[in-house]
């Protein structure tokens, strides 16, 4: 048995490269991240400074937490377009409760529970009504954004604490220079989710549900439950990202998180997660998010107008998926 395994893994024959690729859809994102990193290091003079890297990491962490949740959900074959609105709603709840003088921890919990509730709603509606989650969450994306605008009248809410509340430090304080705690949240949560995905029975059930739902059901997997749980995880992570972002700005406007869902999905897809479910992992998403984050600040530093960012990310998504798809075809030949 050892020999058979070695034959697949260790030998440096082309076969072992095939083998590795089959199980590592994140390959493209890793290469892309390295290339873009080197590219900006050479073209943007201030790219490699601590401040620049810290600002990239700040953006990456908040986007990454959302994208990690989306990745988990996408692997079980569903979508969540409402994460941007959930992020805004959660941040707004945190802001309003903090402003009203509630202890930060209580406000934070309320925001998370509300996010979980939105996720539960997304999941139950999708599963019970048997409609595509694209539609369910398109609806809830617009619904919660509308509520947010209606409740605030379109005005931002700002919170002026006396000193920095401890929870705010835990969520997003600066630990070294401009490096923030949020990066630890992102890497910790993405790592945790990846362990669940690859090393536990639940992870197996998630892959199976996305890979072939009917087959998974026949084999006794509670696919509806898996989907609902993943909707809740995705929404809670978006909610957490909202609170973390609020702990950075102390202010939230009702359009907070607008458009974020597409960026988060883009990062997951760049990282090798299948749009149709059944494949992907968090390692790919981590690299995908870094790629997006680096492009965002790198382009500006390289002297390109900020508007180029969207155009560039758009290109990267399409190229990444073409590469990922052809690599997979080649590997599964």
């Amino acid at each position: 048995m050892k020999n058979v395994q070695r034959a697949g893994r260790v030998l440096s024959s082309p076969r072992s490269l095939f083998f590795w690729l089959r199980y590592h859809p994140e390959f493209g994102a890793i290469v892309g991240t390295v290339v873009v990193f080197i590219g900006f290091s050479l073209t943007a003079t201030r790219f490699l400074t601590a401040d620049s890297l810290a600002s990239i990491l700040t953006v990456v962490a908040e986007l990454g937490i959302v994208s990690a949740g989306i990745t988990f959900l996408m692997i079980c074959g569903e979508f969540d377009l409402s994460v941007g609105s959930v992020l805004g709603t959660s941040a707004m709840i945190f802001a309003l409760t903090s402003k009203a003088g509630w202890p930060p921890f209580v406000g934070f919990l309320v925001a998370l529970v509300a996010s979980a509730f939105i996720g539960l709603l997304n999941g139950v509606v999708t599963v019970k009504a048997g409609i595509p989650s694209f539609i369910t969450t398109l609806g809830t994306m617009m619904f919660w954004r509308g509520i947010l605008l209606a409740v605030t009248g379109g005005f931002p809410v700002t919170y002026f604490p006396k000193g920095l509340p401890f929870l705010f430090f835990v969520l997003n304080g600066c630990i070294a220079g401009q490096f923030r705690v949020s990066a630890l949240w992102f890497l910790g949560l993405a790592g945790l989710l990846n362990i669940v995905l690859t090393k536990t029975r639940y992870g197996n059930a998630v892959y199976a549900t996305g890979g072939n739902r009917e087959a998974a059901r026949m084999l006794g997997i509670a696919t509806n439950r898996v989907k609902i749980i993943n909707f809740v995880i995705s929404a809670m992570l978006a909610g957490l990202a909202g609170c973390i972002q609020f702990a950075r700005f102390f202010s939230v406007d009702p359009m907070r998180g607008f458009g974020l869902e597409l960026e988060a999905i883009a990062a997951a897809v760049i990282g090798g997660t299948h749009l149709s479910g059944g494949a992907g992992n968090l390692v790919g998403t981590i690299f995908g998010v870094f790629l997006v984050g680096m492009v965002r600040s790198g382009l500006v530093q390289a002297g390109a107008p900020a508007y180029w960012y969207q155009a560039f990310v758009g290109l990267i998504v399409v190229i990444a998926v073409i590469l990922n798809t052809s690599l997979r075809r080649w590997a599964l030949r």
Binding site: M1, Q5, G8, G203, N204, G211, N212, A215
Partner: protein, 252 residues
């Protein structure tokens, strides 16, 4: 072999889907260590009968006895726990997942690490390679995705899985359709091997010749009714085909 209580007995099973009567008062039984062929044209009710037996949906009327005891099977999971293992044509395995993850899906061995339970990957890989080599299949690695296996290899992984988890009844839904001649023979051999080990097998197919070569008895369904259950020793394959056809003609 026939003097014992049958392993499975389904009595007077009926099932309607809206106005369509999928099964009408069907009696069906499988003895211990027997290969039962289940044949009939599309829409004859073969898969409905099997889905009732595996808990996918309940019958409208009728009773099921398993090892002599009356049972109500509410889900595929319950059927599996009782020892009824089904290998569906396209739904046996998840193509993008590895051989060993597929093999243990829903029943993974875990190792405890404090309060956490992690997949026991080493044990999974070892068992998979053992079981597969016992029935004569070699995979390059248990980490290989099922997508790269041939149709016959996939069927045999699924059959090996049923053997390993101590199935008493193995249900094979069109196991030889879309297989090459050589692979078909291999799968038919696995069916006999499974019977040799004491399992009972229900073999659902369109291909009378395939089922005739391994079956002990053959049940023919037509438009939701049972036309006949035949001892193979009493009929030729051509006669079975004729009954399937004439059963069809009689109706029209």
């Amino acid at each position: 072999m026939n003097d014992r209580v049958p392993l499975v007995q389904m009595i007077n099973i009926s099932k309607n889907f809206g106005t369509v009567q999928a099964l009408k008062n069907v009696d069906f039984d499988v003895h211990h260590q027997e290969v039962m062929g289940l044949v009939g044209d599309n829409g004859a009710g073969k898969s409905t009968l099997i889905k009732i037996l595996t808990g996918v949906f309940p019958p409208d009327t009728g009773e099921i006895y398993f090892e002599g005891k009356r049972v109500v099977i509410r889900s595929p999971k319950e059927a599996r726990a009782m020892g009824i293992e089904t290998v569906y044509q396209d739904l046996a395995l998840i193509p993008l997942m590895s051989v060993s993850r597929n093999f243990f899906l829903g029943r993974e061995p875990v190792a405890c690490f404090g309060p956490f339970r992690f997949l026991d990957k080493r044990k999974m890989d070892r068992v998979v390679l053992d079981v597969l080599s016992q029935i004569g299949i070699s995979v390059r690695s248990p980490d290989e995705p099922v997508a790269v296996l041939s149709g016959g290899e996939r069927q045999s992984v699924a059959i090996g899985r049923a053997l390993h988890f101590g199935a008493k009844l193995l249900i094979l839904d069109e196991p030889t359709s879309a297989l090459s001649v050589r692979e078909t023979h291999k799968v038919l051999d696995y069916i006999l091997e499974a019977k040799e080990r004491g399992l009972s097998i229900i073999f659902i197919t369109h291909n009378i010749y395939h089922v005739y070569s391994v079956a002990d008895r053959i049940t023919i369904l037509e438009h939701g009714r049972k036309v006949a259950t035949l001892q193979k020793s009493e009929v030729t394959a051509e006669e079975v085909i004729e009954i399937v056809r004439s059963g069809y003609n009689k109706k029209r």
